[in-house]
Symmetry: C2
């Protein structure tokens, strides 16, 4: 059991995007420094970090120096090469742990894990070739989605099968990557729960948010979600089960489908999550600080909410709305400092405080 | 009338303490970068800044390079040498403007300014020698406080006269610095109002907070203050008068005494103010973002409050309370990353959210 990190200690963060940026600000609020490791130049997190390393994930020397310069390492995305993690972990702890990362990096491993601990998931099958896809379609039916096992996010690496005739095209879309076929779930709404666990085993959850996607990217999260209190309890219990089983340390985002049969786990993300951004303006301790508290061995915030919030992402040309949003009462604007606006690029978000 | 600063633009901040640190975080939230100029090494603001210059305020080359690297300059403290400001202002705009800074840098100039625009201040007199002090005591009476005209903060540069017999000692305490004698004001409570004005002339105020000091340093600010609504209106009107007269751009803290004769202005600070820290957990737009919005030409937040808050400073050994505070529900901890704890040093603050 580690002592809390003292003032002035440094947290290494793999990835310099907006999540790393907001983690860095949260670390500073607790008197901690951050060191960002990011291959790309001018990463958003660099604007608010104590130190930045610009190097690829196969640069052994840079990874070694980075790991030696920090007190522990965390990450803002899950697709980190295993070799990089091996180098770092030989020097300094990584939170959340390798098992959590390995589980969430592979859709097949993740689904099997969730099923093994008694949670419901969408019907799925391991796809390695034409024959396994054909037999999966026969058992799961269509419509269904073929997804790469690894490296997917925001709808990338996915191909929809409306009928069995789409099988060949969909498999070609995978470009030889290992894949799984997922059946569709008949759900009323999607919610997500942001949960945290610290090394002392303390678990805390925020109230679930209700998510609406557009073009495969999160559009809004509304808190509270329109679900009965029994489902809130279910969401908290299943999140706690996942975290405890993985001996998880940090914040996790768990996406859930609300169905007549109860909650079905869509996916887990071993990091702060876009659907938890509302906590910045709804809670005394937001998800970013909660993650830093967890990995730094601090007591967790209790997840309590002082205000209801609707979070809305600003994607690409949504930046044009910023001047109007800045004038809106009770609207908190959060921009990521990205100078280049691109279609589909997450540029910022707003939190509308509702009460 | 300037256009709003675009994403990726850089704000220069003179001073790298906790105010610069929190301004820097607020700038990042709006997609802006900061460049900190600070003579001391390892300033708190450096942990969250895009760039840092470590150089004294008489380093012409460093000041010139700094001014050339930013889109505009602001400051976190008022005692900046005039020569440094001259160098910077020849290159890039400074907000708040020189008149505001000059007024607040000198207690005599400040008192005369406030009186000239019709506001009430404590009885005061310019003190240049024994004779002027003797005559000031005769008119103002004792107890009174002798204060240096410049470079005072948190009770420094002040000497109390309980009777006229303390005059010689008090004058010796000033060490030859120009001073003013201030009479005591019979006040019930001290409040402060945090006000902002942007280049378009828009003015916005937060609800006044009620301040309690310990050992000459702010201890707590409670919002709302226990004052009748008529005094809230008075506070807003007088703050707006000060800002408009000075053609001020940025956030100002105005300390006020509540007396049977109404509000008496204690002092003004041309910057974000310790008594405005509560806004971080009470408002969609806090005082730091409000200052950045003002100087960057953004629309101002309206000053609305979603929660009542009690802010408490963590001074010196108060840091020992942090583990307990971190466990307290609805308590937001803000630390400044200062590794060395010293008596009287501001190490952080907490905001307790009350509703």
């Amino acid at each position: 059991m580690t002592d809390p990190l003292p003032t002035g200690a440094t947290i290494g963060i793999l990835g310099g995007g907006q999540l790393g940026r907001m983690l860095s600000v949260a670390a500073a609020r607790l008197g901690l420094r951050t060191h960002i490791y990011e291959p790309g130049s001018n990463p958003p997190a660099a604007d608010v970090a104590h130190a930045v390393t610009t190097a690829p994930y196969d640069d052994v020397k840079a990874l070694t120096a980075f790991a030696n310069s920090v007190d522990l390492v965390t990450y803002e995305f899950e697709n980190i090469p295993t070799e990089a993690l091996d180098i770092i972990e030989a020097i300094t702890p990584i939170h959340p742990n390798r098992r959590a990362l390995g589980t969430s990096q592979d859709r097949l491993v993740e689904k099997n894990f969730l099923q093994d601990i008694g949670l419901k998931v969408a019907p799925f099958a391991d796809i390695t070739n034409d024959a396994s896809l054909e037999s999966a379609i026969a058992s799961i039916g269509t419509p269904a989605i073929l997804k790469t096992r690894r490296f997917g996010y925001d709808g990338k690496g996915q191909s929809r099968l409306n009928t069995s005739q789409d099988a060949a095209t969909a498999l070609a879309d995978m470009a030889g990557a290992p894949a799984i076929l997922e059946g569709f779930v008949n759900f009323s709404i999607e919610i997500s729960i942001i949960a945290a666990r610290n090394p002392q085993g303390q678990v805390a959850c925020y109230d679930p948010g209700e998510n609406i996607h557009r073009d495969g990217i999160l559009h809004t999260t509304t808190v509270p979600a329109t679900i009965p209190s029994r489902l809130r309890t279910d969401a908290v219990l299943l999140a706690a089960k996942i975290l405890n089983t993985l001996e998880y340390v940090g914040v996790m985002g768990v996406e859930l489908f609300v169905t007549p049969q109860g909650l079905i786990v869509n996916e887990i993300a071993p990091r702060v999550h876009n659907s938890g951004h509302w906590t910045q303006n709804g809670c005394a301790v937001d998800q970013f600080e909660q993650h830093i508290r967890a990995i730094a061995g601090w007591p967790l915030g209790d997840g309590g909410r002082h205000s209801d919030v609707v979070m809305e992402n600003l994607i690409g040309a949504d930046m044009d709305k910023v001047p109007a949003l800045a004038k809106e009462p009770n609207c908190a604007v959060h921009l990521y400092g990205k100078v280049e606006t691109k279609a589909g690029r997450k540029m910022g978000h707003v939190n509308r405080i509702k009460s």
